[in-house]
């Protein structure tokens, strides 16, 4: 999310900016909230628009055709010498120089943009970190080398003075990011020709080259562990600075030729889109508007060729991977409202699953017997299993809270909790739930009837159980007394249909009633739906 006080936005961009921002949200698709503050919630793929300046540039183009393309000049300028040992610690580095009129208030936008890259594609500086420096305060040529952590001492951007080791143990950024350079005694540093420290990537920048509102010429270093993330950051930053009216010059980069080729080829790369693909994605009748001007309004220049177009994509459109991404921009540019709605004429006959039909039958029986249907959470409380064996066979590695930490292996415990939450309601209470449980890592649908009241008993439960059984199965019912810690001895039985165990019923033990703070007797029937209805098609 990008945000700025309303007063700043109106002051800086003028009143019409806000109106456009509202309209443009319908084009690009972002959330907009304007009160004392202007907040824009962008979709995470459009980092190229993640500042009010880059949005302004995009809107100028879309509404007025005012172009300000991202132009990079590749030079032979020998600005930065890269040492092999530094690459051993942090294997990739890219840099560029940006020049324009002094940053002024935009210095905050730039720092926000930098932090946004750190936290998104930078993976909290692990993959990428960025240093911004005032070019007029430093003395080129620069070097990317290593330094001994306990030897090199300097002042950080915020005035902390000490060796790199002291910064790692005492400065907040050092404590956060020190781990990223590993256990080495060395640290990568960028120094100028007089030995001033520009930055210790990915930890902290020096005070010497600090960027301020007066800065008009910037040196930007981008270091990291993932070349693709570096490349994306490189173009995003260049794009952001070019939206401030800065020109971008790239000095000689001391990186392998193949990698450099990839870096340079990513800018203004061509993507081929055929008319057939556009029709396939948007629909046959959607392609009436000419894609060329529509794409131009989105900053994509398209040239008709053969049965389609060759589209040139600027380097900071890192979201564009192929034809479908271009097609979406075309649809956005024309507006989703302009896309006609066509019936797909689906000729297949729809049907529900057998499990849906079975559950529906059982719901009907439950309601017919006067039971209220309830639904409870699948991920239930671990408290239920403090004194109980858990038979699910799966455990949640990262539970969020005690109340939601175990996948239920039976239904009646949740029903007991339901009774407990409703003990100040009228009695008798009769409820049922149909839902899945996990037993020995397998999921199975269950049906649970619960009854409570001064006269609730296993006899009562049996009456309902036999009614349900008689309506869904013709197989003979047999009972087998069993024991369970949750039920009174002699009042807990397994219910079988023929030779198949279909469930159990029982009268809850008073100690369990106490556990759930209940004063009334409770009885349950719990069936395995697939066994109960094994002959139902």
């Amino acid at each position: 999310m990008i945000r700025r006080p309303l007063s700043e936005i109106s002051h800086f961009f003028g009143e019409s900016y806000l109106n456009r921002l509202k309209m443009f949200s319908g084009v690009v698709g972002y959330g907009l909230d304007i009160d004392d503050e202007v907040k824009v919630e962008l979709n995470p793929d459009r980092l190229d628009l993640a500042s009010f300046h880059s949005l302004e540039r995009a809107m100028n183009l879309y509404y007025e055709g005012r172009e300000s393309p991202l132009t990079l000049t590749w030079t032979d300028m020998q600005l930065l010498h890269v040492g092999k040992d530094a690459l051993g610690l942090r294997p990739f580095i890219l840099c560029f120089v940006a020049e324009g009129s002094s940053l002024g208030e935009k210095v905050q936008d730039l720092i926000d943009f930098q932090e946004r890259i750190h936290s998104s594609i930078g993976k909290d500086r692990k993959k990428v970190s960025i240093g911004l420096h005032d070019m007029d305060k430093i003395h080129p040529p620069l070097t990317y080398v290593t330094a001994r952590q306990e030897e090199l001492s300097f002042t950080t951007y915020d005035g902390f003075q000490g060796t790199i080791r002291e910064i790692i143990s005492g400065h907040p950024k050092g404590m956060l990011y020190g781990v990223l350079i590993g256990s080495s005694d060395l640290a990568p540093v960028i120094l100028d020709s007089e030995g001033s420290v520009l930055s210790v990537p990915p930890i902290v920048n020096g005070n010497h080259s600090l960027v301020d509102p007066g800065t008009s010429k910037l040196f930007v270093d981008i270091t990291g562990t993932d070349f693709r993330a570096l490349r994306d950051s490189f173009y995003l930053l260049a794009g952001e600075l070019s939206s401030y009216g800065f020109t971008i010059a790239v000095p000689y980069l001391d990186i392998p030729r193949s990698r450099k080729r990839h870096l340079m080829a990513f800018h203004n790369r061509s993507v081929r889109v055929s008319r057939r693909e556009i029709k396939e994605v948007l629909g046959r009748e959607a392609v009436s508007a000419d894609p060329v001007p529509a794409l131009a309004r989105m900053g994509l220049s398209a040239i008709p060729e053969g049965g389609g177009f060759i589209v040139t994509v600027p380097g900071n459109r890192i979201d564009i991977m192929g034809a479908v991404d271009i097609i979406e921009d075309y649809a956005k540019s024309s507006g989703f409202d302009a896309i006609p709605e066509l019936e797909p004429q689906i000729a297949t006959a729809g049907e529900v699953l057998a499990s849906t039909r079975k559950a529906e039958t059982l719901r009907g029986l439950g309601i017919g017997m006067g039971f209220q249907e309830i639904m409870t959470f699948v991920v239930t409380s671990s408290k239920h299993y403090n004194n109980r064996e858990y038979s699910g066979g799966v455990s949640i590695i990262n539970p969020k809270s005690v109340d939601n930490s175990v996948i239920r292996d039976r239904l009646y415990l949740n029903t007991l909790e339901f009774f407990s939450n409703n003990k100040n309601r009228g009695y008798p209470q009769r409820v049922f739930e149909i839902g899945k449980v996990v037993v020995n890592t397998e999921e199975e649908p269950r049906l649970c009837f619960g009854l409570t009241g001064s006269r609730a008993s296993i006899n009562d439960a049996r009456k309902y159980a036999e009614y349900v059984l008689s309506r869904v199965s013709r197989t003979s019912i047999s009972y087998q007394p069993a024991t369970s810690g949750d039920f009174i001895d002699g009042r807990y039985v397994l219910v079988s249909l023929g030779s198949v165990e279909a469930g159990f019923m029982g009268e809850v033990h008073p100690s369990v009633l106490q556990e759930f703070d209940l004063q009334m007797p409770v009885a349950f029937v719990e069936f395995r739906v697939d066994k109960l209805m094994q002959h139902t098609p």
């Binding site: 948007l282 249907e373 339901f418």
Partner: protein
């Protein structure tokens, strides 16, 4: 309780009262009227004893007769007193002044701090204040014994007053003791009681005259039917004024109603329900949908990950190699993510975060187009629950795979679906999902406010091509509980699953 049932309650009462004017009298009411017709003055309520009637029945009948304006009633208010919990304790343990006096008498002199051994600190304070009025005061942090002749008598009087209050037989005239205890505060409870006296009025006499003649049948029994006694009797009219017994019935859970509604809409549109399960592998839930392995949604703070006690074989494990290829190298002219794919990530077990996983696997297993499928199933989010968030919720998922699956047909299907659910003024806006391009959200106007319904899109080629789908796939989804909040007027989404039984038995059924 919903707003509607609150507001409809007074309406029902009003109808009953209007009806009352034309109704005849119950046997009890007749008996009371006839009893009163024999008196010429006002009669106190407890003197109204028609033969064979209980006190409470008579009292009820009097109320109804008054409401029907057949008797004149005069009310007087009477105040009586009882003991509070504290008063009862005084009665049982003794008055604090008495307890201190006794203790001091026994030990001749007691340090004030020691007194708390005999009675609670709050009682000590009260007891000392009372004793001071008899001239027994502490000095130098100690209290020494002194005989106070009138004290014992007074304490006795106070105790017997409390006893008489307790038994309800006290007399207000007892030497200002009532005032004394009222001043002490917290010992007495004041009860107000209204006494009624009544006499029959002219309309009562008329009603009585009119109703004379023969007994009335209250309950029709098999014997009355058989004997033919009903030929000679009058049936007492059904008394609408008496409240009906509350029916203890049951019905669907509100989510069941909605789920069924959604399933009906889908099957009517020609869609087939697909199966699915809670426990999934990251390979199917994430990798197959081209969600990069370092995507934030895959982190521990967004997804529930599981350990399994059984080493279960991965379902359709070929998805690992299919995903590896597209994540690392892309497909066709799409470059992929270009990172090194980690198959251990794919094997991780999790609680499914969406039902799109069911769609992708179903289509992988049913590659012949067209396919129109749906599901309404639970999905899980690693979220704290609050009034509008749940860690598990039902997701609606609809998908169509076919030659003509595109943004135009997607818009048309979604409009049809959401209109059938009752949403109006549906609009489509651009959106973003990692596995669809283009991506689109539907919004509708509900109660004058724009509400986001759900997401949708055309599956990316990186999703469809690796699993062998030659035609496009369109899909849309939405959380159902949010719809339930709108449908059933819920202010807290958790009430669906931690429910009040009264609400479950009382919510307004729609559709």
């Amino acid at each position: 309780m919903t707003e509607l049932s609150k507001s409809s309650f007074p309406l029902i009462l009003y109808i009953i009262i209007m009806h009352q004017e034309t109704m005849d009298l119950s046997n009890n009411e007749l008996a009371v009227l006839s009893f009163l017709s024999g008196k010429h003055e006002y009669v106190e309520e407890d003197q109204v004893i028609p033969p064979g009637m209980e006190r409470r029945e008579a009292s009820n009948a009097i109320s109804w007769l008054e409401a029907k304006n057949l008797i004149d009633v005069v009310r007087t208010e009477e105040v009586s007193y009882g003991l509070s919990q504290e008063g009862i304790r005084y009665l049982e343990e003794g008055l604090p002044e008495k307890r201190i006096y006794d203790a001091v008498e026994k030990y001749s002199e007691i340090d004030l701090r020691e007194l708390e051994r005999f009675l609670p600190a709050s009682d000590v304070r009260i007891g000392l204040a009372q004793l001071a009025k008899f001239g027994l005061r502490p000095s130098g942090g100690k209290i020494a014994f002194k005989t106070i002749p009138q004290f014992q008598d007074e304490v006795l009087r106070r105790q017997s007053f409390l006893e008489s209050v307790s038994s309800g037989s006290y007399s207000v005239l007892e030497g200002g003791l009532l005032e004394h205890f009222k001043r002490r505060g917290g010992l007495l409870v004041e009860r107000k009681r209204t006494r009624r006296k009544m006499r029959i009025n002219a309309s009562g006499i008329a009603a009585l005259k009119e109703s004379r003649g023969g007994s009335r049948i209250e309950t029709l029994t098999p014997e009355i039917i058989a004997s033919g006694a009903w030929r000679e009797s009058v049936f007492r009219a059904f008394d609408l004024s008496a409240p009906a017994e509350k029916f203890n019935g049951g019905y669907y859970h509100p989510m069941s109603i909605l789920i069924k509604m959604v399933k009906d809409i889908f099957t009517n549109m020609g869609f087939t329900e697909m199966p699915g399960h809670y426990i999934e592998t990251a390979g199917w839930n994430m990798d197959a949908l081209f969600i990069p392995q370092d995507h934030p949604a895959r982190e521990m703070q967004d997804t529930f990950y599981l350990n399994s006690s059984r080493d279960t074989r991965m379902e359709l494990p070929e998805i690992i190699d299919l995903s590896r290829k597209v994540h690392e190298k892309g497909v066709g002219r799409y470059p992929g993510w270009g990172y090194r794919f980690d198959e251990n990530e794919s094997r991780k077990l999790l609680l499914r975060t969406h039902t799109t996983v069911s769609t992708v696997r179903y289509l992988y297993e049913h590659r012949n187009a067209p396919q129109a499928v749906f599901s309404v199933e639970k999905v899980f989010r690693h979220e704290s629950t609050d009034w509008k968030h749940l860690a598990e919720l039902h997701q609606i998922e609809g998908a169509y795979y076919g030659k003509n699956a595109n943004l135009s047909t997607l818009k048309s299907l979604m409009r049809r679906f959401y209109s059938a659910l009752g949403f109006k003024d549906i609009r489509f806006i651009p959106s973003y999902y990692p596995y669809t391009e283009p991506s689109m959200d539907a919004v509708a106007v509900v109660n004058g406010k724009e509400v986001e319904l759900g997401g949708s899109g055309v599956f990316r080629p990186e999703v469809t091509r690796p699993i062998g789908l030659r035609k496009p796939v369109i899909a849309w989804g939405m959380g159902l509980e949010r719809v339930a909040m709108l449908f059933f007027g819920l202010s807290d989404i958790r009430h669906l699953y931690r429910s009040d039984l009264e609400w479950l038995k009382g919510y307004q059924i729609k559709g």
